[in-house]
């Protein structure tokens, strides 16, 4: 129960009801007004009683530790926590937004049930408030009924930003115990799986890299908005200030993107590339590195006689080269790289030869150097190939696991949960009919995406088409797929067929299509764990602690799931009763710290609450001059055997960096059939023309911006007013269009335009901008909400999801957001 409800239960219920019914409407302004703060209470007290509590910022996955300032019961300030190794007392521009999120006037006040059977953009759900018990019982009944009918596979749980073991971490177990392959389905395919899969293919680690930016001397950034949205964003900017402003020598940077942004402007060299062609650039850079003998011989290996035989257009005898930690270098040269000259790449990418060569030489001759990439490079149909080409550059210069290079993130030392799920599997869980059904998104299925981690963007269309089947009940956690998915209108149709349970605190589009609202606390009101996003490699996990009592009758998702679990028939219910509550789960997780106390003294739940973060330095491994060493307690001195390297670091079939990817080769037949790629090449990074659906003549790219990384700023007016400072978007975001492109279409600065693809069209206002490629339109992602609150609703430009074709990389499953081609005309 929320604090407010305890004081005035009936008045509160009425207020919540009013709020619920006017959730869509413009009317009812009076009911939307939060009561002004008590007059005088804060202002007159000379000695302000300010409490500082620990929490983790929620606005992106970086998980910066924050100090939350609460005075006389009101949260009013958020600063980075000085003792937190990611925040270091700093915050990105999204850090303070938590105060606006907490007090968002459009928040849900408690659980509600839909009474309007019709669903759609213009339908008012007509939610009525219900109690938590009622709500949870409805869910449990539905789930139990599905199980009884042997249709438990038709329950899906989709999640977005799952933070840690006390929320998202519980989901897999739930799916296993309850009996659904669709619990959970993560959003990673609509995120950046292209990155993850490329690394899996090359070095066997299916994850994002952690990096040692502090010691790197060169950054080559492909399509990752390092200074706007790359993660951990706050920390990256701290590193930037250090490596560019303090460190000796100064780190040099070349950045590649499709429009001029702060990342490119602040770098030493900006390269404006044709969308989807980053792989060509990377291959050409590899070509220069090899032909000019710039590769790191201690890591890669060398010609037996030391003579460089890499010459443009000429094949090399693989036997003449002794590979150290890479596999397939010469074959790669022979089959692909020998012809990928800077001249060739210049034609493909539209980047001048001079700049390609200069970049390659700098990157190849500066140690340590890192090539970074993200969605800009891989959210295309050729995405995994682009990503593999870029990541291979890191191997060529020997920065894998090196000082100033990249590594992978170690998990935290969590203790076991109160119960072991395997002890609570009943027959249904072990052999129920659910086991014979594939996942709804056809992840792991040869008809779908055999090699992907998730295929969330397929859930809506697959269910709608009944292929492989139709879902019955869908629950959403930290996910607004009804709106964020490409071709979102299709999802709206699918949603009409589902019983939807939404747990968001906010009236999102998914919530508007929901049958049941089980609102979560906002992050400042809850306990929650969050192991770090890949950072510097050494393990770190942090804790949210509430700054105040929950404002409304909301419930932490972890608890919601546990309460639902308790109501599932059979041993599943017992398991969740053993778990008890999310807080109990957290206590058990923290018990693991006893045997691995944090560097700051955190050894249990209480100390974890106090400090907010547990971490243990250092990262345990380092590659130095082609040898791998393990930490011995004082330094990296213990030489590792190749078997150890394979087990812990280069987790590929050969234990090396596989330019010729063994993992892809294992699935060569499937890949060849589904992608049409040549069986001789498909396991190597190679150039492939990207496909561009949509029917238009201009590329459409929608990057994240500094103030809007994961779309949580849509209903915050302070965000809207600052959203797009590069071109002045201050009450709406502008569509960046090159002046010539505009002129050719009779479009002037500030005009309203229609951007259309084969799916439909959206409307927005343009800003003529020389910094955008003439063949490309760019505007920040996630605008054009039709729900989400009074500030979000209807704000231009329209939502890119309405015109983005749902097309994905067949290997990684990465949703190819930036691949649709559109038309633009005056509206």
């Amino acid at each position: 129960m929320g604090m407010m409800e305890k004081i005035l239960p009936s008045a509160f219920a009425r207020r919540r009801f009013l709020q619920a019914t006017s959730a869509l409407g413009v009317a009812g302004a009076a009911s939307q007004t939060l009561r002004p703060i008590e007059a005088g209470a804060q202002r007159t007290s000379a000695a302000l009683q300010t409490r500082i509590t620990k929490n983790i910022c929620h606005q992106c996955p970086a998980r910066c530790g924050i100090d939350v300032y609460t005075t006389n019961g009101r949260v009013h300030a958020i600063y980075g926590s000085t003792e937190h190794p990611i925040a270091n007392g700093k915050l990105c521009p999204k850090g303070p937004l938590g105060i606006y999120i907490l007090y968002d006037p459009d928040r849900f006040r408690g659980p509600m049930r839909r009474t309007n059977p019709n669903k759609g953009r213009n339908e008012d759900p007509r939610f009525v408030p219900i109690s938590w018990d009622e709500a949870l019982d409805i869910v449990a009944k539905r789930l139990n009924d599905l199980r009884d009918r042997g249709e438990s596979h038709r329950f899906a749980l989709l999640y977005g930003r799952g933070w840690g073991a006390s929320c998202a971490g519980l989901l897999g177990t739930f799916g296993k115990l309850y009996g659904s392959p669709n619990v959970p389905i993560g959003h990673s395919s609509m995120c950046s799986d292209g990155s993850i899969k490329a690394r899996q293919a090359l070095d066997g680690n299916a994850g994002y890299n952690a990096h040692d930016y502090r010691n790197t001397n060169y950054l080559l950034i492909f399509g990752a908005s390092f200074l706007e949205a790359f993660r951990p964003y706050n920390y990256l900017m701290q590193m930037w200030g250090y490596i560019r402003g303090e460190k000796s020598p100064k780190t040099r940077v070349t950045a590649v993107d499709v429009h001029m942004n702060t990342t490119l402007a602040a770098s030493d060299r900006a390269l404006l590339i044709k969308p989807g062609t980053d792989g060509a650039l990377a291959l050409a850079i590899a070509h220069v590195i090899l032909t000019e003998g710039l590769w790191e011989r201690s890591f890669v290996g060398d010609f037996s006689d030391g003579v460089n035989r890499f010459r443009t257009g000429e094949t090399v005898d693989p036997a003449s080269f002794e590979e150290k930690w890479v596999r397939g270098l010469v074959e790669w040269w022979n089959i692909e790289v020998k012809d990928r000259t800077p001249q060739w790449a210049s034609e493909v990418t539209t980047i001048p030869v001079r700049d390609i060569v200069a970049t390659a030489r700098e990157f190849g001759s500066t140690r340590p150097a890192m090539a970074l990439f993200e969605r800009g490079a891989h959210a295309h149909t050729n995405g995994i190939l682009n990503a593999m080409a870029i990541h291979t550059l890191n191997a060529l210069v020997g920065s894998l696991f090196a000082k100033g290079g990249m590594m992978y993130q170690m998990p935290p030392a969590y203790g076991p949960l109160p119960a072991n799920a395997d002890d609570y599997l009943d027959d249904y869980a072990r052999n129920g009919p659910w086991k014979r059904h594939p996942r709804i998104d056809l992840k792991g299925h040869p008809d779908g995406y055999l090699l992907a981690n998730n295929m969330m963007q397929e859930v809506g269309p697959n269910s709608l088409n009944g292929r492989p089947y139709k879902l019955d009940t869908v629950m959403f956690y930290q996910n607004n797929a009804v709106w964020t998915a490409p071709n979102c209108r299709q999802w709206e149709e699918a949603a009409k067929e589902w019983f939807i349970i939404d747990t968001s605190p906010f009236p999102s589009e998914t919530a508007m299509m929901a049958d049941l609202i089980l609102p979560d606390h906002t992050y400042l009101e809850r306990y929650q764990d969050a192991p770090t996003y890949p950072f510097e490699g050494w393990p770190l996990t942090q804790l949210r602690t509430p700054a105040i009592e929950p404002l409304f009758d909301t419930k932490y998702f972890g608890d919601t799931l546990i309460e639902i679990g308790k109501r599932i028939k059979g041993p599943t219910g017992e398991y969740y009763r053993k778990l008890g509550s999310a807080e109990n789960v957290l206590r058990h997780l923290a018990a693991g710290f006893a045997r691995a106390p944090g560097d700051n003294g955190v050894k249990d739940f209480e100390t974890w609450k106090e400090k907010g973060v547990w971490y243990r330095k250092p990262y345990l491994w380092q590659q130095r001059n082609g040898e791998f060493y393990e930490w011995d307690g004082r330094d990296y001195t213990r030489r590792m055997s190749p078997e150890e390297v394979k087990a812990k670091l280069l987790k590929t079939p050969s234990g090396k960096f596989e330019i010729r990817s063994g993992w892809l080769e294992q699935h060569a037949a499937w890949i060849a059939e589904k992608t049409g790629r040549s069986p001789a090449k498909l396991m190597f990074p190679h150039w492939e023309e990207p496909k561009h659906p949509g029917g238009g003549d201009l590329y459409l790219v929608t990057p994240k911006v500094a103030l809007h990384a994961e779309g949580r700023g849509a209903n915050i007016p302070h965000v809207i007013a600052l959203l797009q400072p590069t071109v002045g978007g201050r009450s709406e975001a502008y569509i960046e269009i090159h002046p010539r492109t505009a002129q050719e279409r009779g479009i002037k600065n500030g005009d309203l335009v229609r951007v259309s693809s084969e799916l439909g069209s959206i409307v927005g206002r343009v800003r003529l901008y020389e910094g955008v490629r003439p063949d490309t339109l760019v505007y920040p992602m996630e605008n054009g909400h039709w729900a989400m609150g009074r500030w979000a609703r209807g704000r231009l430009p329209g939502h890119s999801g309405e015109i983005t074709v749902n097309l994905s990389d067949r290997i990684s499953g990465q949703c190819a957001y930036y691949t649709t081609k559109v038309r633009v005309e005056k509206a």
């Binding site: 002045g728 201050r730 600065n749």
Partner: protein, 390 residues
């Protein structure tokens, strides 16, 4: 020019003064009421000012316009009260009455614009902020008002024929010039605003004051004489006679020269901020205000075909008033159109269109002025102090 006392039949007919009073009151109440209701409901969001750079908008333009008209009217009255030019004796009292009315209109506009107008009255005089042009301007107006009060009490209400005591007249005259110059300084001393900056601005304000003052005098005289200026004014009320025609011609020419001078200087300059002049050059209204505002009055008053027509002077006065207002508007708004340090938030020239409430402020000011003038006229008539020589 004869100064013989005339019979009551030569007085302006009471009817038009009454009409003026009624119109003025109605306008004040309706327009003023609208503005006040908008301000109550929305605060100054009812106006279209913008912190990106358009701070002083139509209400300030209105305020400045009427303050300057006040100074001009006092200076014209001083032609008789200080300098003894008998040609201007017949209009001196009316001029001062119109000055008071104009000041009323100005104050009303200012009060609707300021965040705390009453606080302004209390705090400004004794703040002793010597460096602030507005401090000096307020004191100028205080002194001018005091001098006007003295003149009304000792000279106008008693209805004396001869000139008033020199000290009060001199102080009023000096204060009028002072206010005009400082009012110009409020703009002209702002070195960070190239469109406004320079010593010429004070001169331009001085001339504009005289210009608008004389035009207002002509127009209001014509109105209260029932639009039959020539007939009523034959030799009696020189507001329609030769000295005024000459005065207006000279002032229009002077104003024109000053306008053209700053226009050329603005068009010529590469300096950041001066591109506003090029923008204005592209605006039809600017050209209308400049060329028609200059040409039409001069043509009417100089061309043999028109100069002696009854409508010439009043029509010229009306055109002058409109053109001068637009000129003031373009000057004030133009000087703020180039945003200072707003980056991408305001990448081009700022654009401004007045809100309905701001138009209503103008209407209110004009109505208040009309009402006060008409009321003063009636007051002076009824107290018998209104002779043919007013």
């Amino acid at each position: 020019m004869s100064t013989a006392v005339l019979t009551r039949s030569s007085l302006p007919p009471i009817s038009w003064t009454l009409v003026l009073l009624v119109l003025g009151l109605v306008g004040s109440v309706v327009a003023g009421g609208y503005v006040i209701s908008q301000l109550q409901a929305h605060g100054h969001a009812a106006f279209h000012g913008d912190s990106r750079g358009l701070f002083w908008t139509l209400p300030i333009v209105t305020y400045d316009y009427f303050v300057l008209a006040t100074t001009g009217l006092v200076m014209i009255a001083s032609l008789w009260t200080v300098f003894g030019l008998s040609a201007f004796a017949p209009i001196a009292r009316r001029s001062l009455a119109l000055a008071v009315a104009s000041l009323g209109g100005a104050v009303v506009a200012l009060f609707m614009e300021l965040g705390y107008p009453v606080r302004a009255l209390l705090l400004i005089p004794f703040s002793f902020t010597w460096s602030a042009p507005l401090f000096w301007k307020v004191w100028g107006i205080i002194i001018l008002s005091a001098a006007l009060v003295v003149l009304f009490l000792t000279w106008i209400f008693p209805g004396k024929d001869e000139r008033p005591a020199l000290p009060a007249a001199l102080v009023a005259f000096g204060a009028a010039i002072f206010v005009a110059v400082v009012a110009g300084g409020v703009y002209g001393w702002m070195s960070m605003r190239p469109v406004w900056y320079g010593g010429h601005t004070s001169i331009a304000f001085l001339v504009e004051g005289l210009l608008t003052g004389s035009a207002l005098l002509v127009l209001f005289s014509w109105i209260i004489y029932g639009f039959r200026g020539e007939q009523a004014g034959r030799g009696d009320t020189p507001a329609f006679g030769e000295p005024f025609r000459l005065l207006l011609v000279v002032l229009v020419a002077a104003h024109g020269i000053l306008q053209l001078s700053r226009l050329v200087s603005g068009l010529y300059s590469n300096l950041d901020g001066m591109e506003v002049w090029h923008h204005l050059w592209g605006e039809p209204l600017f050209h209308a205000e400049l060329w028609l505002g200059l040409g039409v009055p001069l043509a009417l008053l100089l061309l043999p075909q028109t100069r002696h027509e009854a409508y010439a002077l009043p029509l010229a006065a009306a055109v002058v008033l409109l053109a001068a207002f637009l000129s003031r508007y373009h000057f004030v708004i133009g000087g703020q159109m180039v945003p200072l340090f707003k980056g991408s938030w305001a990448p081009d020239l700022l654009h401004y269109t007045p809100s309905l409430a701001e138009y209503a402020v103008l209407v209110t000011s004009v109505s208040v002025m009309a009402a006060i003038f008409a009321a003063l006229q009636l007051l002076l008539r009824s107290s018998g102090s209104l002779s043919a020589q007013s």
